[in-house]
């Protein structure tokens, strides 16, 4: 183990995995929330667009989305999203396209998680709110949305954990996060393959298990008893 740390920038790879996870999670949450609003809203056109987005993205492999982002949108269509003045331009560009792809992909799942949260609220709740004279805004704010968010905690936790594991796919466009480092390290030190695997598996379990356990108990705590 010590040899690995001495020979490779293990922390750098781990840190990049965490960075990718955090930024992608934030963007996916933003985009996914907008999609969810489009899908549950009263406007037909937006319903259809939201549904189409979710169905297309959900059925495409993430590997393809990541590859498409850098090679097609970045290279072929010449869309730049990093500062080309900086010395690390190429690295930044790949990292940003990876974040873009991860966000676009997981937004579809965030949208579905939020929608399933809304679906946990029985229609009777909204009817009851209207019948005591609350307006649309009031019934959403005090009755429907609080319950919907509480119902969405568990599926959102699943999406977050999947996202953390999925950051490894970024190695297909050369982003030097954990899986990229793993290949590099094995090429140099094939004798340490199992130590490497243990180290990396441990790192991911350290990230995913506490989030899983913590958010599961949170979702149980806030779940609306019906």
């Amino acid at each position: 183990m010590g040899e690995l740390f001495a020979q490779f920038d293990v922390w750098g790879a781990f840190w990049l995995t965490i960075k990718l996870s955090v930024w992608s999670a934030l963007w996916a949450l933003l985009l996914g929330t907008s999609l969810a609003i489009m899908r549950v809203g009263p406007v037909r056109v937006l319903n259809v667009v939201g549904a189409a987005y979710v169905n297309v993205v959900r059925n495409t492999p993430l590997t393809l989305v990541v590859l498409f982002s850098l090679t097609v949108l970045g290279t072929r269509l010449g869309i730049q999203i990093a500062n080309d003045e900086s010395p690390t331009f190429l690295v930044d560009e790949a990292v940003r396209w990876a974040i873009f792809a991860l966000s676009v992909y997981h937004a579809a799942f965030v949208c579905e998680a939020l929608r399933s949260g809304v679906n946990t609220v029985p229609v009777g709740q909204a009817e009851a709110a209207r019948s005591i004279g609350l307006g649309l805004g009031q019934s959403l704010r005090h009755v429907v949305l609080p319950q919907a968010f509480r119902g969405a905690v568990a599926p959102l936790a699943s999406v977050l954990i999947a996202l953390i594991k999925n950051t490894t796919v970024a190695s297909i466009i050369g982003v030097a996060q954990t899986s990229y480092f793993m290949v590099e390290a094995i090429e140099f030190r094939p004798d340490l393959i199992w130590q490497l695997f243990a180290l990396i598996a441990g790192f991911f379990l350290l990230l995913t298990l506490p989030i899983g356990v913590g958010l599961t108990s949170l979702s149980r705590k806030v779940a609306v008893k019906r």
Binding site: V45, V72, L77, G212, L215
Partner: protein, 292 residues
């Protein structure tokens, strides 16, 4: 919008006018986005007919797309069968009477659910390459199938567990009361019902496996995505990737539709009162349609 929606009341004349305005604005914005995208594509010469016609030649399909689809389906098919076996063994293990068996099965399932599929693929691929167990050209295939099996087997194990757990308690009690052993009760009464309830979730899991098989491209397995990239080596990157995406979407959308059809049928039949929920009642894996 029906009036029985949770979120909205039936729209009145003012709301309808507002919706119309939003509709028009949204349509215009969408149209604008599409026009800008097409202009960009055209400026870069990506809309030339020749580039797209190259996707529909006999050789493109004969040497790239068809072999790619077949490799993808082969890996996914074998992996789903093996993960069902794995899932049955460890799912039943988690429900065992024996504490040690329960504990070991739990640890195995949690371990394989917690690490990324790609990490497992890379580990298997290099391990096989160094050991030379198989012929070099089958190594990627074995690594893809093994990694997909372990991860999805762990997910199926959770499905089995939640499927059995959601059966009415009386089922198990009835089995025991007519003198069956716990093992017989599990095999003859609980598992068959749980598997029926799991069917839609299993089909959804097949979508996950198909999408994850594309990770094989990273370790040189010649599945659909890698075939598309090989075709793209001819200079056009956009068209082969779009074609590959379309093929994936068609296959997976068919499976998703099949899953919801099965779900409706099973619920209508009332064959079982159990419902294995999609993410096995706990976070950690995919939401219905999976990780990648």
């Amino acid at each position: 919008m029906s009036s029985s929606s949770v979120l909205f009341d039936a729209p009145g004349p003012r709301a309808r006018r507002r919706h119309l305005i939003i509709t028009i604005v949204a349509a215009l914005v969408l149209l604008g986005v599409v026009v800008v995208a097409l202009m960009r594509l055209d400026a870069r010469g990506e809309l030339e007919a020749a580039k797209w016609q190259a996707m529909f030649t006999t050789s493109a399909w004969q040497y790239y797309f068809v072999p790619g689809i077949l490799s993808t389906l082969k890996a996914a098919g074998i992996a789903i069968v093996l993960s069902m076996l794995f899932g049955l063994v460890f799912g039943v293990g988690r429900l065992s009477q024996n504490t040690a068996v329960r504990w070991v099965s739990g640890a195995v399932v949690e371990f394989f659910r917690g690490i990324p599929v790609l990490i497992m693929m890379i580990a298997f691929f290099y391990f096989l390459a160094f050991r030379g167990v198989f012929a070099p050209e089958t190594n990627p295939f074995v690594a893809v199938v093994a990694a997909l099996t372990l991860y999805n087997g762990a997910v199926v194990a959770e499905l089995v567990r939640s499927g059995v757990g959601s059966l009415p308690k009386g089922q198990g009690e009835a089995g025991l009361s007519i003198g069956l052993t716990p093992g017989q009760t599990m095999r003859a009464i609980q598992l068959p019902q749980a598997i029926t309830a799991m069917l839609p979730a299993l089909v959804s899991q097949l979508v996950v496996i198909l999408k994850d098989s594309a990770l094989g491209a990273i370790i040189t397995y010649p599945e659909l995505l890698r075939s598309a990239r090989n075709l793209a080596a001819g200079g056009n990157t956009l068209q082969p990737l779009v074609m590959a995406a379309l093929l994936f979407i068609i296959i997976n959308f068919t499976l998703t539709t099949l899953a919801s059809y099965l779900e409706r049928r099973i619920n209508k039949r009332g064959h079982t009162s159990a419902k294995a929920d999609k993410d096995a009642g706990r976070p950690g894996d995919s939401v219905g349609a999976g990780t990648l």
